[in-house]
Assembly symmetry: C2
Homo-oligomer: 134 residues x 2
């Protein structure tokens, strides 16, 4: 499928993480499901970042085989599938929050989204607990 198959096998935990979710798109998908409540293929397709459909399905399958997402039928719309974070996926929350915090410090662009950053800054513990409790 793609590069994560040939894991670097260096034993380094940083490399392990990057092999699992460290590509151009995976963390954006995880962000969408973690922070924006997105659940379906078509919701992911509508992201501002415009992922290609073949790349999206590739990443969804990859994240599923890595045990970060799990796929099930949508009981309310039986032609949709729902992708949800597993425990392993929810454990990525601190990484996402740290990336957001870092960007809050260093993104100087005028259109940078500061809202989310400030919301996390106010009460990081509470914010994280909220996300994890779903």
């Amino acid at each position: 499928m793609r590069h994560e198959n040939k894991k670097r096998q260096s034993g380094c935990p940083v490399a392990f993480g990057l092999d699992t979710f460290g590509d151009r798109w995976s963390l954006l998908i995880i962000r969408d499901v973690m922070l924006k409540g997105k659940k379906t293929y078509s919701e992911f397709m509508n992201a501002k970042e415009a992922i290609a459909s073949n790349i999206l399905i590739d990443r969804l399958k990859h994240l599923e085989t890595e045990g970060i997402l799990e796929k099930s039928r949508d009981p309310e719309n039986r032609r949709s599938f729902i992708y949800a974070l597993t425990k392993k996926g929810r454990d990525l929350t601190p990484i996402i929050l740290e990336i957001i915090t870092w960007s809050g410090l260093h993104d100087q662009r005028p259109f940078a989204m500061r809202g989310l950053v400030e919301e996390i800054g106010k009460d990081r513990e509470e914010f994280e607990a909220l996300l994890r409790s779903e």
Copy 2:
């Protein structure tokens, strides 16, 4: 140079972070300088993960223009250059530590490096302060 030039411009802080350091190699270089004390081109070339020389120089230049690394002459060996983390680069420490922590939880491979993970787990605050104080 490469994809980070065309930033996604979505304003999302996660996307901003990924555009800056979220590729297959950048965080491994940052890990090497942050955790392993590597400083020069040839030290980075000797990483277990075997980066290609053209990719390495590309990423070093990119991280330099992003203000994460700064390059200077080595006063002790004038045919070497030294790459060091800026404040912006040192601020990535929590992200690296969270990745390591996550891998510590979820890397089941027999040769996973648990040493570093445990060291961080013992006293995360102290470990982070140590790295930041350089």
